[in-house]
Assembly symmetry: C2
Homo-oligomer: 220 residues x 2
DNA sequence: ACCTGAACACCGTTCAAGT
DNA sequence: ACCTGAACACCGTTCAAGT
């Protein structure tokens, strides 16, 4: 990367590129400075601290996922699924950033755009009032928490395939299973579960539930 | 706390007590050593590194949540809800530990006991085969990811009430909402969402979905 | 106005030395 | 066998100095 005049955009670009290229490493100002051919402390001219920088990078991921979902054809459910899937994929591609989804509260434009999209799809589905808000909470909370979990696993594991095929349970190794008949009975099946299976099982359940609520509302 | 002969149990006790007493602080060996009246590096006699220590503490939380759920009366759904609720509560009570739920793979006895409980309840519900495994994945994954998210928020926020009443969105402050009609329309309702609302909306949707699958199975 | 580099406080971890 | 304490590499962050 050639030396560029620093600004917030350039720095966030470099953060995401770094997170993509070194999926097992956390972002440090030192590495970021090297990538930008700049002193490690130069970032403090543009962001108050590391938290703010991370938030800006997360906001960018939210914007990207929303764009992708808006570009997707289909009904509200297909488009919500596209959003949720894109969030997971982007988090897995940038583990060091995706792992921080817990801190997203103080919203940037990308976060708000994603909220707007979710509310719009759920409104199209036929929800309103309390049901709409609860559905938004379920989808948004699930997406953030699960994307963070996927990214954190990708960050920790050396054996990661980067596509979510991280074993959910890699071994029962040291634990004696004799007192746990159900675990023993399903041992093989449990070991085949991976991160994306978990993700999809959860979001399918939530969207099913929303679809039913919406249908009941229409029938009323 | 009086000086005690160190062993794994004593250290895990101290970790959880520290996490409870200083909900805004991460666990450090220095603070842990002070609490145990022992040098910061003494822990390396009993745990290979900090990861292993954290895993042991998480395993204890899993064991506690499982015990509480087993002691709960009611049908499978009530008992699953008890488990999930207890996991969230324990994570919020020990933010520095609960925040690490992503790393739980290499399982200890407490983790396996919780898996056994989940599989048992879902079997009682009438699930089997693939449906059982998918339901297990959805509930387990949701609980871990969301408990971690709650704990991470509790760790970051100074204004935390420790009971999950952390605002999900605290402000739209700097962002101009003129381009986001749905967000603007629901602004007030969105600001009332807290961490536990999100948690309950999600788990209710997942359990609804499981109940329907189970009923369909019975009807078949 | 923006970047540099020394400095500081604070981490996890290692290892030789103590008892 | 277990604990101590010095040491190391590595963090985020501050601030005076440069240009």
């Amino acid at each position: 990367m050639t030396r560029a005049r620093l600004d917030q955009r350039t720095i966030v670009d470099a953060v995401l590129e770094l997170a993509r290229q070194e999926p097992q490493a956390r972002i440090t100002f030192k590495r970021l400075g090297e990538a930008l051919s700049v002193d490690a402390t130069a970032m403090y001219r543009h962001f108050r601290n590391k938290d703010e920088l991370t938030r800006a990078a997360l906001d960018r991921l939210a914007a990207l996922a929303t764009e992708a979902a808006r570009a997707t054809d289909g009904d509200w459910r297909a488009r919500l699924e596209a959003f949720v899937r894109r969030m997971a994929a982007l988090s897995l591609e940038h583990p060091a950033i995706g792992a921080e989804w817990a801190m997203v509260d103080p919203v940037g434009p990308g976060d708000v755009a994603s909220d707007e999209f979710l509310l719009e799809m759920l409104t199209i589905a036929g929800l309103s009032g309390d049901e709409l808000i609860r559905a938004y909470a379920a989808v948004s909370g699930f997406t953030l928490a699960q994307s963070a979990a996927l990214a954190q696993e990708a960050l920790l594991r050396t054996d990661t395939a980067r596509d979510g095929t991280i074993p959910w349970i890699s071994t029962f190794g040291a634990v004696d299973l004799s007192g746990f008949p159900h675990v023993r009975a399903h041992r093989e099946a449990l070991l085949t579960i991976d991160g994306l299976t978990v993700y999809q099982a959860g979001i399918a359940a939530i969207l099913d539930s929303i679809a039913r609520t919406a249908d009941a509302g229409v029938a009323r």
